[in-house]
Amino acid sequence: MTVKLGASIVVLAALLALAAPLLAPYGPDAQSLADRLQQPGSAHWLGTDELGRDILSRLIYGARVTLGIVALVSVVTAPIGLLVGCVAGYFGSWVEAVLMRVTDVFLALPRLILALAFVAALGPGIVNAVLAIAIVSWPPYARVARAESLTLRHAEFIDAARLAGASGGRIVLRHIMPLCLPSVIVRMSLDMAGVILIAAGLGFLGLGAQPPTAEWGAMIASGRQYMLDHWWVAAMPGIAIAVLSLAFNLLGDGLRDWLDPKQR
């Protein structure tokens, strides 16, 4: 039930993001100073911001940025985590010791603050934000992938592949990694909410997407000045962030329970 709810919200957000130009009532950057800081009403369902831009439209376009970051982070981190974990799990001995030690060190470091420092060093922007989040996010996947490949290491079909003359690299890439993928994906859906929150935090601090890009975290930051009299400017994007990360949390929790009946 919760999985379905989470999944439908995520799918809905993805559809909104894809069809943003068709669904958004206004352009994301269409300013109208005469209509600035309008309360939510019939013309602007969620009100307007300090430049008279329609908040609903900006939220819809902002879904593109947030989901884009989530997708990019997954595309970057999953292969790194998979590779590190599967290589460690398959080869064992000192390779495993070294790789898992590195993973543990990364795992024990504070994620958000390191990501902040990375972006500050690389310079603000979405690409750098994605890089920074990816650098601090891969270790859990490496752990999951290693645990999974440990059980595969001595499987008969792996022995068969080895006897057939497959190289270690080929076995890891073609035989082990694909089988570790499902558990890594479940683990990832659990992490997506965290990624959204870090991305929003970076945007809030001005380190993520740069203006005038409609990014939820940055929208909260710009609404901060007006929050005492015009609460909706900052409130709406926060609600969007909360709903989307809640959806990912529900989805991830549900998937985990589904795969691991002990947790139920």
């Binding site: 958000l112 060093a121 601090l205 909360a242």
Partner: protein
């Protein structure tokens, strides 16, 4: 003997993590697209003075030598000078640190105070309203951005209802009357015996600590619930109930005894998480802690300050986890 070597192993692993943290900040400093020599001399410097400064900074040496020097100076507490405040970063951090600790401690206390009982009762009434409510509250805590919740709390409880004091640590009018002894303003005000200052400080602390504490509530109640569910399935609980003990006694005496150990780790992790979470919260509440120091330095690319703050928070993070690991070993008879 065996226990001693295990303890040594825990400490060695924390030391290794610390070294990893130092390596991370060292590498971050290297990727900054600003030439440190030009940052000092300006881009009109002659080639010879450029070379000289480069040598003085040790930038002509191999990377591992530079890293060793970096570790040595960090160990001495030397993080360089802040470009923004012109002070040594260590001095700045010393000034801002107590505020962060004060906030994180207050928040963790709240999180434990509410989170542990909530988790226990949620487990005891599994599937019923208390449980559903606790889980929903927890899940929401995992999903909302902390800085946003802080802003909304300010709008509602400070601006609209006037229940709590606004941004800052104490009313500006009272600020100069509290002598700085420990740097923890609540304690300093209490030491000075200044009732007004103490009330003001507590009222300023309340809102940010509640907001931040909510996040540790979310984590602590969730973990407590899942530990408690495990315990409640054990036979000794059935035995205790069969003896006719009151439910309260079963929960709080028999089961809770076995929760204390895992809870130590959970609370430590929550505390470490809040140290980090303070970075975003302090900005919203104009709380003069390390988090605000870091965010202010971020935008002016004052990397010494950013990395110094990152190192200190990261080191605290590692230290809190180390302490929890060691406590666990001391308190768990099986680990001795």
């Amino acid at each position: 003997m065996k226990a001693a070597s295990r303890t040594a192993r825990i400490i060695a692993s924390a030391a290794l993590t610390l070294l990893g943290l130092l390596l991370a900040t060292f590498l971050i400093a290297r990727v900054v697209p600003i030439d440190p020599v030009i940052a000092i001399l300006g881009d009109r410097a002659s080639a010879s003075s450029y070379e000289q400064t480069r040598k003085e900074l040790g930038l002509d040496r191999p990377l591992y030598v530079q890293f060793a020097r970096y570790v040595a100076s960090a160990a001495r507490g030397d993080f360089g000078r802040s470009a923004l405040t012109k002070n040594p970063v260590a001095q700045d951090i010393g000034r801002f640190f107590p505020a962060t600790i004060e906030l994180a401690t207050g928040a963790t206390l709240l999180g434990v105070l509410f989170g542990v009982p909530a988790g226990i009762y949620a487990a005891a009434r599994r599937g019923r309203l208390t449980d559903q409510l606790t889980r929903a509250l927890g899940l929401f805590g995992y999903s909302v951005p902390v800085f946003w919740l802080g802003m909304m709390a300010l709008v509602l409880f400070y601006a609209d209802l006037g229940w709590a004091a606004g941004p800052g640590r104490i009313d500006a009018a009272l600020e100069d009357f509290v002598p700085r002894v420990t740097g923890f303003i609540v304690i300093d005000a209490a030491l000075a015996g200044d009732g007004d200052a103490l009330r003001s400080a507590l009222s300023h602390l309340a809102l940010p600590a509640l907001v931040l504490g909510y996040f540790s509530f979310a984590y602590i109640s969730r973990m407590t619930r899942s530990f408690m569910l495990q315990e409640l399935g054990q036979e000794y609980i059935v035995a205790a109930r069969a003896k006719g003990l009151s439910e309260r006694r079963v929960l709080w005496v028999h089961a809770f005894r076995n929760l204390r150990l895992p809870l130590i780790t959970v609370i430590a992790l929550a505390y470490a998480g809040l140290l980090e979470g303070s970075v975003l919260t302090e900005t919203v509440f104009s709380w003069p802690g390390i988090g605000q120091y870091i965010t202010n330095s971020l935008l002016s690319i004052d990397m010494n300050a950013v990395l110094g703050g990152t190192l200190v928070i990261g080191a605290m993070f590692i230290a809190v986890n180390l302490i929890a690991d060691l406590l666990y070993r001391v308190l768990d008879p099986r680990a001795r």
